[in-house]
């Protein structure tokens, strides 16, 4: 993911939803100039602590805000926007808004790099995946009403946001996808 987002050191990268900072750490290691958006203050603090321990010497801009507030950031300000396991926690309207606004934040030749849970193909695999995932989904629902939902058409959503999907790689029996989409010329 970091490789896809930071083709060369010094790339300006916006990471939406850093969680505990695992991807953030890799991005910094690759020399990204990083802006991080995270709405959960405890997660943000955990990520900051993680990065502080590395002492990479790279300044990271930390923003405690929601993904829906990325429209306040500058137009064409980033070479890449990274979304790792974030979109599956959003509603359809929120995903649409965030992807559209992310596209607006990209410089010419910029790209969106999104990794998330997706429904495997074909349908029978998707059905099996849902079955295997049921205990985890049930636990999340019982505890916090977790709304994490595997995405049915990640490339399609990127396309509808005005982006041009260039690649899609899948792992874990097709249930985890990494999509790279570039801004349309």
């Amino acid at each position: 993911m970091a490789l896809a987002a930071v083709p060369a050191p010094g790339a300006r990268v916006l990471e939406i939803g850093c969680g505990s900072g695992a991807v953030t750490e890799r991005l910094v290691e690759r020399g990204a100039q990083l802006t991080v958006v995270e709405q959960n203050p405890e997660m943000l603090r955990a990520a900051q602590t993680r990065l502080a321990a590395k002492d990479s010497g790279t300044a990271v801009e930390w923003l405690e805000q929601t993904a829906s507030e990325v429209d306040a950031l500058g137009h064409a300000a980033f070479d890449a926007v990274v979304l790792s396991l974030v979109l599956s926690e959003m509603s359809a309207s929120e995903r649409s808004f965030v992807l559209r606004e992310s596209a607006q934040r990209l410089a010419p030749h910029g790209r969106v790099v999104a990794a998330d849970e997706v429904l495997p193909i074909p349908r029978i695999h998707a059905g099996l995946f849902r079955l295997l995932r049921a205990p985890q989904a049930l636990a999340g629902w019982l505890l916090v009403g977790s709304v994490s939902r595997p995405l049915a058409d990640l490339p399609g959503e990127l396309e509808r946001a005005g982006l041009d999907p260039r690649s899609e790689e899948r792992w874990l029996a097709g249930s985890l996808a990494l999509c790279v989409a570039e801004i349309r010329p």
Binding site: S91, S93, F97
Partner: protein, 389 residues
């Protein structure tokens, strides 16, 4: 099917029941119709939508107050409005807001991404009052440009509230705990307790599974019906009564020593469970079982500039607007406080804070940031006596 779903959601209200977020048009709302924000608590939203059939309104689903949720249905009758549904993890408003599931971020996200901004020309939204423990109105304004106000506690008061141009009476601002609400709480806690009791009993002595399940249901009804009217120490009295009943039932149904011991243990657990004030904000006990119970709200009058936001959001009418020359608010009925923290969260001047008897003070920023867990406990950072809040 709908009534089966209603019954299931009523009996198992302890688990979250999320629904789709977004904008719902009620009737034929136009670009100047009121915008109401509520949470994605499925039972509430379905009842609202069903009740508003044939009317005109916008509904933004975000977070609804659980106990009174179904009253929204009747409440909005005859209105044209938008309802915006925001994510509250499928939990009712008061619990969701107090527990950090329904806060400023969720409302900002709902207002920005639901598409409501393209449907109306104004930027004013009405939030449920009980969301005030989690959603800070001035931060919503700063972060997305929407002016939010806290409506009445009960949805049934919405028409009168809108008719009065957003002015609330004392009754509109205060939580109640009437017979219907007590019964709903009894069903909500009694059904899972009965299932648990029956399951445990079936493992040890099947004949008393059914009687003990019945006892659990009766205990839940008694707990929410009379518990708060018992003399102190009512928790011990209630649990002892429950244990005696369980022992009698077990002995009567022919249980041996093991069964009697199991019944007594189950009854003690049941009594402790039923009388535990989980969220720390119910009208029964008025606070959690942790050190937060010793906190009380203190008012720094030097900071007060008579904005009366605290008066607006307090669900127990603890504050009183003065009638004399000094217009600063009075904390007149602090004894009624349930430590929900809504007044502290909303005060723009940080004139209110929690403090314990030793003078330790919890900064308002901490109350805004750290919410209650299921047991009514909050992460805190205290300052020493005399330190600025």
């Amino acid at each position: 099917m709908s009534s089966v779903r209603d019954a299931l959601q009523m009996a198992f209200r302890l688990v979250p029941w999320p629904t789709e977020t977004g904008v719902r048009a009620i009737g034929n709302p136009d670009e100047w119709s009121p915008v109401l924000v509520t949470g994605n608590y499925d039972l509430s939203v379905r009842r609202v939508v069903a009740a508003l059939e044939g009317l005109d309104a916008w509904l933004v689903v975000a977070a609804l107050e659980g106990l009174d949720a179904w009253l929204v249905v009747a409440a909005l009758e005859g209105l044209d409005a938008w309802l915006v549904v925001a994510p509250s993890s499928g939990i009712n408003v008061w619990c969701a807001a107090s527990g950090g599931h329904f806060g400023t971020s969720q409302v900002v996200t709902a207002l920005k991404t639901s598409g409501i901004a393209e449907r109306v020309r104004h930027r004013r939204a009405i939030l449920p009052q009980l969301a005030a423990t989690g959603v800070r109105a001035r931060d919503v304004m700063r972060r997305c440009g929407w002016r939010t106000r806290f409506g009445p506690v009960r949805a049934e008061d919405l028409p009168a509230y809108l008719d009065a141009d957003g002015k609330k009476t004392d009754a509109m601002r205060c939580v109640s705990f009437d017979a219907r609400e007590r019964l709903e709480m009894a069903v909500m806690s009694g059904v899972p307790a009965a299932l648990l009791a029956a399951g445990l009993a079936a493992l040890v002595h099947p004949p008393f599974a059914l009687p003990l399940a019945g006892l659990a249901l009766i205990a839940a009804i008694a707990c929410y019906g009379v518990y708060d009217r018992l003399p102190q120490p009512r928790r011990a009295l209630f649990t002892a009564g429950l244990a005696a009943s369980a022992l009698a039932i077990t002995a009567f149904s022919g249980g041996g020593t093991a069964a009697l011991l199991t019944a007594a243990s189950a009854a003690v657990l049941l009594g402790a469970g039923l009388t535990f004030d989980y969220s720390g904000s119910t009208p029964i006990e008025g606070g959690s079982h942790f050190e937060e119970r010793a906190w009380h709200v203190v008012l720094d009058k030097e900071r007060c500039e008579s904005l009366y936001t605290c008066w607006e959001v307090c669900p127990e009418a603890c504050f009183e607007k003065p009638t004399g020359e000094d217009r600063r608010i009075e904390l007149a009925r602090e004894d009624r406080c349930v430590r929900c923290g809504a007044c502290i969260v909303q005060c723009a001047l940080d004139a209110l804070a929690f403090q314990n008897d030793a003078g330790d003070r919890v900064p308002p920023a901490t109350i805004r940031r750290y919410k209650l867990n299921l047991l009514g406990q909050r992460k805190i950072e205290r300052t020493s006596p005399g330190a600025p809040a």
